[in-house]
Symmetry: C2
Subunit: 193 residues, 2 copies
Amino acid sequence: MLHDLLVQNIEKHLQFSNTELDIICSYFKPKVIQKRDFLLTQGSICKFEGFVLEGCFRIFTIDKKGNESTLYFASKDWWLMDIDSFMNQIPSDLNIQALEDSKVLLISRSDKTVLYNQLPTIDKLFRIMSQKALVAWQRRLIRNHTLTAKERYLHFIETYPEIAYKLTDKKISSYLGITHEFLSKIKKLHKKE
Amino acid sequence: MLHDLLVQNIEKHLQFSNTELDIICSYFKPKVIQKRDFLLTQGSICKFEGFVLEGCFRIFTIDKKGNESTLYFASKDWWLMDIDSFMNQIPSDLNIQALEDSKVLLISRSDKTVLYNQLPTIDKLFRIMSQKALVAWQRRLIRNHTLTAKERYLHFIETYPEIAYKLTDKKISSYLGITHEFLSKIKKLHKKE
DNA sequence: TTGCATAGTTGAACTTGTTCAACTCTTTTA
DNA sequence: TAAAAGAGTTGAACAAGTTCAACTATGCAA
């Protein structure tokens, strides 16, 4: 019940027996996060990997000049973590903040190690998931290099309408890598056409 | 002998027995590529995954306006492929071109499938390699959003001096996401300081 | 060795995107 | 429910980066 969405998500990538799914799910503990609360803050070490059951999160960094840059958004059925901090156990550059009241399933780093040892096929699952994520990052870099800010904006709202409608323009602009003032001007000019 | 560098590279990520290493290596076939020749061209489907033994490659795309955008460079001890085209068996957006006479080890898609079945721990190897690659992409996106063109240039030549010295400024600029004229101006102003 | 293609430089005009400040509108909190 | 904080808009001045064109330098092939 609680783990239904997780099971569905996993089975999109790889088939498991019910026994295996039960083992996997047993390590993922539910956690409720209130709007505006943080699951991870810049400077601390990421000790979990998470899967979103309800709500929406923003994963972002604040640079020396104080500008926010959003890496990605994670709503229902998305995974979230700082993989850099989680893998290398170094202080994170990222903040993970709930944009609304949310519910996640978390697996701790130590439990993930146990799971890898207990169920070797889990490597295949995360191998496939990581490779799909690599494809997404590669495509995003190409878009960042070849599209204008306006094209990137239109691509974003067309590709992720269910996420975009929840977001303020300030947050969308920080994902696109532009200022919110400029996004406002893009939208104004776009309407006139 | 031929596979020594590959073995060393693999063992940086995960330990294998000699028997296992022999199996893995048996699927990687050497191929010599001459300067300026292509290992993959835009529009064709990527049927291999490669590891560079000698030389240097550029992985880039050409957009509708005719502008080149470089995803990355791969010299000795680097992996190279279009993971998007390889995984999804769709026409590639990328070109992989030798910048000098080069030598690679290639594993075909079908052999990789055989290898995954024959040696399940190979999933763990590629899981780890993919996760490290994800870390690199994540860091690059943050740099692209938070650093100026000049800062990105300095970061690149400091981080990859052995690659950078082989490259023309035109190729470096297409990696940084700026025009080669602008890179020329950046370098001029930088020298004066 | 000449000639041709490619790489790099520079300047001027231009476009894209930023900064700052002022203002309006909406949402949150006391 | 008032006030404060945050989100969005707009304009003007500015900075970052592009485009185009002309030129120089370098490497490569006949």
